[in-house]
Symmetry: D2
Subunit: 284 residues, 4 copies
Amino acid sequence: MSNAILLIQCQDQKGIVAAVSDFLFYNQGNISGIDQYIDKDSESFFMRVEWELEGFRIPKHEINEGFIKTIGSKFDIEHKLYFTDPAPRMALFVSKLSHCLFDILGRHQAGELKVKIPFIISNHKDLEPIAEGFNIPFHYFEMNADNKEEQEAKQLELLKERKIDFVVLARYMQILSPNFINAYPNNIINIHHSFLPAFVGAKPYHAAHARGVKIIGATSHYVTAELDAGPIIEQDVARVRHHNSVDDLVQMGQDVEKVVLSKAIKYHIQRKVMVMGNKTIIFN
Amino acid sequence: MSNAILLIQCQDQKGIVAAVSDFLFYNQGNISGIDQYIDKDSESFFMRVEWELEGFRIPKHEINEGFIKTIGSKFDIEHKLYFTDPAPRMALFVSKLSHCLFDILGRHQAGELKVKIPFIISNHKDLEPIAEGFNIPFHYFEMNADNKEEQEAKQLELLKERKIDFVVLARYMQILSPNFINAYPNNIINIHHSFLPAFVGAKPYHAAHARGVKIIGATSHYVTAELDAGPIIEQDVARVRHHNSVDDLVQMGQDVEKVVLSKAIKYHIQRKVMVMGNKTIIFN
Amino acid sequence: MSNAILLIQCQDQKGIVAAVSDFLFYNQGNISGIDQYIDKDSESFFMRVEWELEGFRIPKHEINEGFIKTIGSKFDIEHKLYFTDPAPRMALFVSKLSHCLFDILGRHQAGELKVKIPFIISNHKDLEPIAEGFNIPFHYFEMNADNKEEQEAKQLELLKERKIDFVVLARYMQILSPNFINAYPNNIINIHHSFLPAFVGAKPYHAAHARGVKIIGATSHYVTAELDAGPIIEQDVARVRHHNSVDDLVQMGQDVEKVVLSKAIKYHIQRKVMVMGNKTIIFN
Amino acid sequence: MSNAILLIQCQDQKGIVAAVSDFLFYNQGNISGIDQYIDKDSESFFMRVEWELEGFRIPKHEINEGFIKTIGSKFDIEHKLYFTDPAPRMALFVSKLSHCLFDILGRHQAGELKVKIPFIISNHKDLEPIAEGFNIPFHYFEMNADNKEEQEAKQLELLKERKIDFVVLARYMQILSPNFINAYPNNIINIHHSFLPAFVGAKPYHAAHARGVKIIGATSHYVTAELDAGPIIEQDVARVRHHNSVDDLVQMGQDVEKVVLSKAIKYHIQRKVMVMGNKTIIFN
């Protein structure tokens, strides 16, 4: 049977852990994981608790209301309730580069990513054969300077219609409008091919090569209105040497991108990410 | 003011988190950190909770009894209670190599390690000047095949007399007897200069060089009766190349040893290590 | 145009670099890369030199003879001559796990691996659809205790017939016979899913989990008669935590396996690997 | 006996390797290491060759002239000639933080750094006791807005008088004037406590914490007129988590700083660094 996951955020105060664990214990919930973080600077409290639904005395669809009545009436908190079943629905946005797409679909096929992928969206047709190979619908949206607003509106309609929970930009080479971003706050995951905040923007491997760095990296983050400046979920690096060309950096970097992006997707799916201002808390 | 830390270990069961957090909340304890782990295989529950003593309604010296009465009467648990103040008392054992000793004393002097170091013990006199430079008493115990039992007995007496909480073997090149080890269960930290379980025993850098590995490592672990086989606390690695000599490996490895050992000491001091069979849980 | 690559191995002696570079200069060769290593212990000299064939005065098919006449008559050396064109021919052996196969074929399709893959051999039919998806012939060889010798003979015949240069065992779960191994000395690349020499043999992730290591790894090596003991080409690691299950280790490890194996293949293809006893020299 | 090291830089052209190796062979030089790199973009050739002076037919003090006559007359090259003996003379500049100073002096004492350290310069008196403990003269230069030019002039005089070859800024918190920098081009090594080009300037750990990065780093580079923008010699990183405070980052980062700076010093001493524009070639 599946689990429930509760994410809680509030001003730090005595008794919150006791109240939540009492609520679960009273209702016969078996806690399978509890994580907590107190941010001293802002005096904020963050908590993730996961418990088994089997044997829990409150029916699944009444848990949220029950929680609000019991805890929400006592503490001024923000909370989100998730269930591990059904799996969340993820839309994949791609352009021309195949490495992240291949990697995600391969992991998905191997059962590593507990997610549904109703479709792939792209502004180019290059990767359509890969989508077909994995039997996933592929929607082509031509994008140009004139039709962006219109095409994004259609994309959003499609996302809504197919009940998409979150979006992954797997090297999608279009900048999303604020309107699109606001429709999925902290639910659009991007992979940037540099060790942010170094080398924001286009062609970071060229910039890294020109600067002569000895280590390159990749960064997965939630998309916000400011380019490449959203909350960082995961980063990793690879060592390079003076004889490596830009092409070498691209190849070595793609290996990092794939691992970083898939880790960020996993943390997101498992509800292990909480956002605090422009930073993330990763309960892993 | 200082904090209290409670480490709890028991059969996994409903209500334990609620009971502990209720106990703390009821007594006005402000939880500053809570970590928990359930080992599915053995159905065991592990928990670390830290709270501020300021404002806590139970006096420091009655907390243990209070906890036993309240929680220990309901659940069959093992627990340990620690306080962040006063700092634990650590004995350093060394032989001839200075790098770990230098590193630990440098960190200690810079305030990075919250610990008291009443003395250093060695089976060689080589490092006495370093101890003197840091104003720490240095006790020389000559060790040979005949006097081991006798000398260890004297060492243990000294440890007891000076109320030593735990021992760090900072490249101490003597194998401790089971008798000595049993006097400090899970309280003797060793640094082994290989990526265990590869290259157990003497001269691991020579063995690594002979095998032609591309990565070397270091391992910090609690000492048990079986050589280099105790619970691993921390490991790290460094990349090597074909042209690196054994001497190069020694130098590169020493940098890893220092960082790995100091991390293990920190985790131990902060009571972030729990031992489960021959493995560690690190709440970091 | 393509390049020539010369690998040279001999007793260390004065004049060898001068002789080789004179030979190339005299014949108008433009050196694009030169690497050299002297092993002090064995007083052995290793060299890799790559030069452009364009403008080189000796025709491609006469270079080997020319080199032997000029240099081989003066020095007692072993040498191997390669050309970057045509690409070497690689046979892929797989069993049931798809991650390495997917990774290699994806990189090959993206132009990252300069190699021809005439076919895939497997002792199971599970991965045949992937081979078909990439339009690569798939040969199924059922293996059991009784038919091993016979089936290996057929495999070797196929390798010979299709002029295979080297073999990659991409998580092929069969132990090759010495007879097979001897047919491709230092030309069979295996990926072992541990940080060798730790956890030789079957189920290394289970062994790593049982030992409680904090870092896992993968090792690519040339296959020799002794299991998992051949010259190591490349290794890498990933950090794990106490809460990671064996399944987590498998998933995290597979990411390392893919990168390590593809790096080993690249070094091999680029003739950057020289074998010295049971160790490798990697000119990268 | 000691070795000679020749660093050569010129337009890429046929015959240069042959000419240099002939020169050495003709004069009975036994090459112990040769490294070479061709930068395709600028068509530049870089070479490092090291050979044993024992048995070399040209006397030490005539080698430079001999090389110019033989090779310099044929090719338009820049070259530098070094000897492994006597060791180069290094001046250490520090301010208040002790970790890099301790680390360098500890390595020096252990014989790891083949260098002479005639004195330490500081703009604060805090670290004088450490210098005394290692018996190294300590020169205090008070620095303020008004006396910078004057004090730097005195420092330069001291460097000249004591025949200093290169300068290491071991967390020296003063910006050097262009005049000072120009006196030691590519001979002033700085350690910056971030993964450059991210977080240039003051308080990079604070900036990294504010940005919420998951990895921090340190960078060693040659000092040029533009702040933190000189040729990068070495970089390394450490993983951080959301619960790490700025103080944690400082401590974790200092471990990286020490290793990165000592590696950069070693490469520099061993003449393994060549500068190409604003980048370095590291022959390691």
